[in-house]
């Protein structure tokens, strides 16, 4: 536990210090997904007897450790529709919650450095447009106009052949998204308890009826696991087997770059993505660590390899210095698509498999899961992402859209 957690501040919007003995919905995990679900349950469905539990402070997990990119240019229609819904919801989130989340539409380029990848990106544009995510395919000259810093020869080895361009690609400040949902949920009557670790599930026969926590046992109508990183442990308590492996994903920022770097740039062949933060820092990420791990360490090899990729496309990066590194632990599903909804254990829902693509999905996943809990019927938008898809042999395989390998 770090210094910040030990001096953890109470949430300014909440007066309760102890959880009630019973809630309609208990949500494990106070990250974006858990809080958004509580927010939409309370604001859209009038279900306010909801409690969100976090072992540390809210947003201390992957919600505070991502690269804040919001995009919808996925490779399968169901995913495009889902992420596009999320992207649209982000655009109106400031208005809805009254909180400034520093949302900025920047456009996202997805570069191709080989003929094969160029074909993939052209296909992506056609598919995305057909599914409601406005995109176009750009020539190298058009790319240079959007991002003049680029070396179109790619250091000679990765010449830029073209790029797909998602108009709606955006970023938002991740902590502010968490706080906006927390504040909104609390104001609408939900409860949030920080520093409250869930230690197990209470079961009545095969049904999950509550959770045991460091602050005592809480009964629940339904329990939603919105855990990032330790979902396999939670699911084991509910006897649910998951197609999930947990990997470390590292990211880092440089010192401030004084000029504007307008879009979000990703590269399929180099496997990395880069954008500029509101403070001017260049924010980068790439593939997750190969070995499964629950450890949030960063290493020099990774920084070295991503820096080399960045300098290949953007020579100006060579003059910047790495300022800060961090890592999150990602639940990567075996088909690279999220898992949402009920499980074979009644009373137990999941929002997981968010791998390296969870931040952008927070509003849509939260609202759809809230709808599912309220209506007790799976909304069409997330029906393809049920855990049962693996038994039905309809995996939503989309590894090439994850922006990672």
């Amino acid at each position: 536990m770090n210094e910040f957690v030990e001096t953890l501040l109470d949430l300014p919007w909440q007066s309760e210090t102890e959880p009630n003995p019973t809630y309609d919905v208990v949500i494990i995990g106070g990250g974006g997904h858990g809080l958004a679900t509580a927010y939409y349950l309370a604001t859209r469905h009038g279900i306010t007897n909801v409690c969100v539990l976090d072992a540390s402070y809210i947003g201390s997990g992957n919600s505070g450790r991502n690269t804040t990119i919001i995009r919808s240019n996925y490779g399968i229609p169901e995913s495009v529709a889902f992420y596009q819904e999320s992207l649209s919801m982000y655009e109106s989130l400031e208005e809805e919650t009254g909180c400034w989340i520093m949302h900025k539409t920047k456009g996202q380029l997805w570069m191709a450095h080989s003929t094969g990848t160029a074909r993939t990106e052209q296909t992506r544009v056609l598919m995305n447009n057909a599914c409601g995510a406005p995109s176009e395919y750009l020539s190298p000259a058009q790319i240079k106009e959007i991002v003049p810093q680029i070396d179109l020869t790619g250091g000679g080895r990765y010449p830029v052949q073209g790029s797909s361009y998602l108009h709606g690609g955006a970023t938002a400040r991740h902590d502010r998204v968490v706080w906006a949902y927390a504040q909104g949920a609390l104001r609408a009557g939900a409860h949030i308890f920080q520093n409250t670790a869930v230690t197990g599930l209470v079961k009545d026969g095969a049904r999950v009826t509550g959770v045991t926590t460091s602050k005592g046992t809480i009964s629940a109508g339904v329990v939603l696991s919105a855990v990032g990183g330790h979902v396999s442990t939670v699911s084991k308590w509910a006897d649910v087997r998951l197609p999930i492996r947990t990997h470390t994903l590292q990211a880092f920022v440089t010192n401030a770059y004084a000029q504007e770097f307008a879009p979000i740039v990703s590269s399929n062949d180099l496997v990395f993505y880069i954008s500029q933060t509101a403070r001017g820092q260049m924010l980068m990420g790439a593939e997750y660590d190969r070995q499964a791990s629950y450890q949030r360490g960063t290493n020099f090899t990774y920084l070295q390899s991503v820096s080399a990729k960045a300098v290949t496309l953007f020579p100006f990066m060579a003059k910047l210095r790495i300022l800060r590194t961090w890592a999150g632990i990602c639940d990567v599903s075996t088909d690279f698509s999220p898992i949402m909804g009920y499980t074979n254990t009644s009373g137990f829902l999941l929002s997981t498999g968010w791998g390296t693509w969870g931040f952008k999905a927070i509003p849509a996943a939260g609202s759809q899961l809230a709808k599912l809990i309220a209506d007790d019927k799976t909304p069409e938008l997330i029906a393809p992402f049920a855990l049962s898809r693996f038994e039905r042999e309809v995996a939503m395989a989309d590894p090439s859209s994850a922006g990672t390998k």
């Binding site: 087997r241 947990t246 499964a292 450890q295």
Partner: protein
Amino acid sequence: MLFVTCPNCGSRPFEEFRYGSVFPVTPEIITDDDRRNVDYAWMQDNIEGPTLERWFHESGCRRWFTAKRDTRTDEWLDI
């Protein structure tokens, strides 16, 4: 985990190695053949703790070996 010990070559920097996989184990409690197939194809133990796994010393002897690692800390353990 900055160093990995290869049984042939000794302790070498992590980047010389390629991670293979863990040993997948389908629980005995799943008895239906179709369900066992689904479990084998997709499901993961995703162990949080000591894990037996295969590693490949790519830059050295180019041989696979089995090692035990604590996934919570990335510490190497004796098998």
